[in-house]
């Protein structure tokens, strides 16, 4: 994941240098929307990586089989919340609200 951060930084640098939008039209310009979406996806990827590195466990689709193969309810039974502050993602956590069903590890 550390390597991926480098990749994202590199892509971000390329993106900031400028994206060519061939379509100059005003109607259904998917070339433009895709360019905007690409920037947003880079933001999102950065947020996901930061939260993923901080979450030292395996839970559902977030799997770290080599360093943290098990679920850790004690430390990570919480939502990761990321905000962009001055262009950089800032990670915080929110408690999980328990309702009718007690959360438990899923074993298949």
């Amino acid at each position: 994941m550390a390597r991926q951060i480098e990749i994202i930084d590199e892509l971000r640098e390329r993106y900031d240098r400028g994206v060519v939008v061939e379509d100059k039209g005003e109607v259904f310009n998917s070339d433009l929307t895709q360019a905007i979406e690409l920037g947003n996806m880079l933001d999102l990827a950065e947020c996901m990586l930061q939260a993923g590195i901080a979450r030292k466990e395996s839970r559902g689709a977030h799997a770290r089989p080599h360093d943290y193969p098990t679920r850790d309810d004690e430390n990570f039974m919480k939502h990761s919340i990321t905000r962009l502050v001055d262009g950089k993602p800032e990670l915080s956590y929110k408690e999980v609200r328990f309702t009718k069903y007690e959360p438990m590890e899923r074993k298949y």
Binding site: E22, D23, G25, V27, D31
Partner: protein, 365 residues
Amino acid sequence: MQVGLKIWRFNAKTGERELQEFEIDAPEEATLLDALDIIKDRHDGTLAYRKSCRMMICGSCGMRMDGAAVLACKTRMYDIAQAGHVPVISAMGNLPVVKDLVVDMDPFWAKFNSVDPYLRPGFQEAPDGREHLIPPERMTVIHKEALCINCGCCVSECNAMESDPQFTGPQALAKAMRFVGDPRDGHKVERLEALNHEHGIWECTRCYFCNERCPKGVDPRDAIAKLGAESMAEGIDRDMGAKHAKWFVTSAKTTGWLRETELVPKTQGIVAAIKQTRFALDLAKHGKVPPPFPPHVAKDVDEARRLHDLVRDRGRPGYSGIVQGERALSRLAHGHGAGSETLEEIYERPGAFHRPYIAGEEETA
């Protein structure tokens, strides 16, 4: 693999139309959508088309290939490219083109919304919070209609809509059948009543293009037939289309022939028929219609009557009298052609769909 495409471009601002040819290099497994993506990425970023899921789920990428509606993500380019064919890609029909391959779907959604495309439950919620259970067989009736992904391919091909843009259309009517046939819905009669208007179910010309071109096997024309049968079973038969269909049955039952001369007055009424007298006499003069008297009775009219009684005695009025699902099933089983398997064998395949529900069967099972 080299893939050639000719694409109809459209610029809404200038109103210009242009057929542009592209020659691209694509992987062998590429679909038409992949080919368009390659064109947009590497050749011409201004090309516009809708897409989303790439796997026949979202229904965004409906377009025409060589004049027939397809989902771009379902259409493989391999065979076409191998044959050296360069297909012409254009926007869907019956809907206004916004740009290149993008059409304005607003008329489509307006018709979709006009049939109340949501469940209006007709049962009282059990007071103890129990679920309202429905046997799966009751839902297989609308299995095909529920497969619809609103891609618009059937609407694009609809001949009736070409002559009357106000026609409710195959997609909206298939959606209507999806709720008319739903055992949980409690507004069947109201729904049918609302569909029996001038631009409703009876305006379909039965060309079967929608069945032919639907990428999901919904068979909208079958749905329209079911709506018609269901309307008549509920006694909603004031529309000319219903009267027309009824006259076919009466005529076949009584003389074994279609008595065309009586068809017009029985369908349109006496007044409208008198207005057509001149036209009818012209037809008669040229030997196009037999004289109405005496009525010509078929030699084997008893056979026609027995057939009529047989259908009546099976006691399956409405959509349950229409055998369902064969086409969709055979298509799923063998691609497009008919295979050597019988229908029964198809239903018995592992993982096959349930055999269609037939009224009264659930009690015996």
